[in-house]
Amino acid sequence: MKQSQAINNTAAFFPNHFKKIGLIVALLPVALIFLAKYFFPDTPTETKLIVKDFLFNVTILGILIIAWSRDKEEDEMSMQNRLQALGFVVFTAVLMMMINPLVNLFWGEPFQEMSAKQLMLFILLGYIVFYKIRKRSA
């Protein structure tokens, strides 16, 4: 479907097939963790933490690629849905950041703020889910 630049101003997104690449990148760390547990059971805790941190980054990168990939049929309504999803998720993320430490306290856990990576994951996943909901309800 060829579209004019006026209607389809989505040049900043990755092509549609990047969704599959993103999915592989996001799931790769899960597979690697299982393999590492099987092949390297005696890894020191410090190394485990560094690897875990790195793999979490890879997962976030994979989800970012999925979120920033075009749909098969992308048009001006998709852009409006994306904008609404982004607005909703930013609003929710701010509330979540404020409420999350209080919820932790309520459940008897230490007062701890969300990390930047947790927030990033929440924003990306929230964006993907809300965009899908908007798209299906159209």
Binding site: M1, K2, Q3, S4, A6, I7, N8, E73, D75, E76, M77, S78, Q80, K135, A138
Partner: protein, 68 residues
């Protein structure tokens, strides 16, 4: 803002998919415009009007609520 896209489509025996392909949008977008869930951009409105060979004012009409 109401529109007569469904009527014009019926006159020309055209499906939502046919119209979507002609103007380069998804079928869902046409469905949303027809059911007044989505208001198209000027470019898209002009494109739709051109497909039906009518003026855009004949296709789209403002309602009382639009002036509030």
């Amino acid at each position: 803002m109401k529109n007569t896209i469904k009527v014009e489509r019926a006159k020309q025996n055209m499906t939502q998919q046919d119209l979507a392909e002609k103007i380069g949008v998804s079928r869902q977008t046409i469905n949303s415009i027809e059911s007044q869930k989505y208001i198209p951009s000027t470019v898209l409105a002009l494109k739709i009007a051109k497909v039906f060979n009518i003026k855009v004012e004949e296709l789209f009409e403002l309602e009382e609520d639009d002036f509030l």
